[in-house]
Subunit: 231 residues, 2 copies
DNA sequence: TTATGAATTTCGGAC
DNA sequence: GTCCGAAGTTCATAA
């Protein structure tokens, strides 16, 4: 990892063309050769960048660049595409390198995928007698989050969202319409499961005969932990 | 802008919970108080971050933290939500601050603008005998992307999109209706040009007598390069 | 101001 | 590997 603070102008060409006028910015060069150009604001997204795999070459400025006061010319080329990032450095204000090593990585919790996994493991949350058929049950218009079987042996299609809104109900409705045509599955009941279900979404769902289930993430995770400890 | 290289552990809680074990990382503190935690790899996305508006407070570690070797405790709180980022610094390897000022901002040449320029230069893509009248042809409801003249001398109004969807057809339709009232131009034919035209948009366009032209951006850019070299 | 869709998207999981 | 959908999405534009 190398960090350079410099007055620089940046040009990117590739999927689009972009230009950054001369200003002070922070340049980050990662161990894999990728380069990030950050300003002192905005979000976590850099103003410009080059994703790995790529290679950085530093050249002496020539001709017009040299006359314009460029002291270093960086060219970052993508290894796979013809994307190119050119950094014209006019003044280096700081330059620091450090060995960081490989990061042990992020531990994440709480996304929709985790809810899906937990509900699949605790499918009885839908009610006694429910059994899991499979996660990501494929259909012609995309996979249903969870397909289960109810206590009477009927099919149950479950759509899971972190926040249940109208478009989620619409999505489930499309699945139900399609799945209901399959004589091996029909009749298919729908369950809309989310940590939080917006009132409008609940009204729409129940109007269409879809059951709404609010998921208690902490409780589900707690049960999961208990299970892990018990077995 | 402040840049700190440090051995640290990071915890985020908010929309989800995430934890980064102790390792060397780069911490970026922007002028607006936002904080980015970068590793020496991955893409431009930080391992963890806090978006502005937010505030950073630095505390002396106490109790277990102090015993575990924490020398600085950073807490970054979102001003709007209850998101929180906690950085436990065990060792500071570098610490640098710099005044960057406000960035003049990015100048983007989107693909659509480039497509317009390229098609104007290569207007014969519309068919033999076409000539350019002008780009950004002004009308009372806004400029038409390209106005051209067809082989029989008739007017041709061109709407350019990267992805041709229904609203683009509607836009062109409005232009055509307006331009068609001008006796100096009428009759005006319409051309809907895009890198990709959605089937629904194509159906609507052709139903209205508008010709659809799919543009090959790479080929057009290639021709442009050849031209640039020749002249 | 809000909603809608694209992104030089990135990131992860399923197959 | 590829494909597909979510993201602590972020970002821009249109309504």
């Amino acid at each position: 990892m190398r960090v350079v603070v410099a007055r620089c102008a940046v040009d990117y060409s590739g999927r689009l063309d972009a230009h950054l006028p001369l200003a002070k910015r922070l340049l980050m060069v990662k161990a894999d050769g990728s380069v990030l150009v950050h300003s002192d604001g905005g979000s976590y997204k850099p103003l410009n960048w080059m994703s790995p795999p790529c290679s950085l070459t530093v050249d002496e400025p020539e001709g017009a660049d040299a006359e314009a006061g460029v002291v270093e010319l960086w060219t970052v080329r993508s290894a796979k595409t013809d994307d190119k990032l050119v950094v014209r450095i006019h003044e280096v204000l700081a330059d620091h390198s450090a060995e960081l090593g490989v990061d042990p990585g992020l531990v994440k919790d709480g996304v929709e995928a985790h809810l899906q996994k937990l509900l699949a493991e605790q499918i009885e949350i839908l009610g006694p007698g429910h059994t899991l058929v499979r996660r990501e049950y494929p259909t012609a218009i995309g996979p249903v989050d969870i397909m289960a079987r109810g206590p009477e042996g009927n099919s149950v299609a479950v759509e899971i969202k972190r926040r249940g809104e109208i478009d989620g109900v619409e999505q489930l409705t499309r699945y139900l319409e399609l799945l209901g045509r399959d004589p091996l599955l029909a009749p298919v009941r729908g369950v809309f499961a989310a940590q939080e279900i917006k009132p409008q979404a609940r009204v729409l769902a129940e109007d269409r005969g879809i059951r709404c289930v609010v998921l208690d993430y902490d409780a589900m995770r707690g049960l999961d932990d208990v299970d892990s400890r018990l077995f």
